[in-house]
Symmetry: C2
Subunit: 117 residues, 2 copies
Amino acid sequence: MECRNAQGEEHKREMMAVQDSMDVLNGKWKIPIISSICYYKQRRFSDVLNDVDGISNKMLSKELKELEVNKLIRRIVLDTQPVTVLYELTEHGKTLQTIINNLTEWGIKHRKEIVGR
Amino acid sequence: MECRNAQGEEHKREMMAVQDSMDVLNGKWKIPIISSICYYKQRRFSDVLNDVDGISNKMLSKELKELEVNKLIRRIVLDTQPVTVLYELTEHGKTLQTIINNLTEWGIKHRKEIVGR
DNA sequence: CCGTATCCCCGGGGATACTG
DNA sequence: CAGTATCCCCGGGGATACGG
């Protein structure tokens, strides 16, 4: 695999695109949250809170908001008593799966490379 | 694109692999640094310092060390006067290109999705 | 149940100066 | 040039309590 040979402005545009992606996924929690919601198709706030080890309610709230703003997840309110809130991936959110799969594969290769095969 | 249907332990192992990858790439600087070195094939400390907008020498030093520990880059010392230090990608580092390409493509799609097509 | 508000602490990381 | 050392600040994020 070779580096792209883009020149000047094109190279910068590509770098910005990578950063856009990273900004969306950065931090400890985004991917585990997405993974939880994806795995169960639909998931409630407190479920995700349990799925994602170590996250606080404040953080979860913040992260879910960011994911929603980025249109990766959808928030669904059912007017039960008390209220039930479900989160699910949008179509756009599901397109992340390619990247997550690649990260999975690379992570496994990397572990072999570092820990020893 | 569907979610993987891995069950229980397998799903956890995959999540850990994703986190391994993210840990390696996390933060503002890793990918821009890799990109700079990759683009120029070989790059000196002060060159990268200029390429990566806004990074401090302390941060760059720290990040380069982490990348080296993770065997993504190689540090080459030439005994000129004063000393010259070159950084280049290892073969393992070059395997990141697939991921970076995917992040680029997804970032572009994402921008269209958010900013408007 | 689903969050928001408040308080508070710690360490990530910038600016700057210094060394080999 | 290629980093290291020191100082210092600010805001990310945990714990906890509260509100709808």
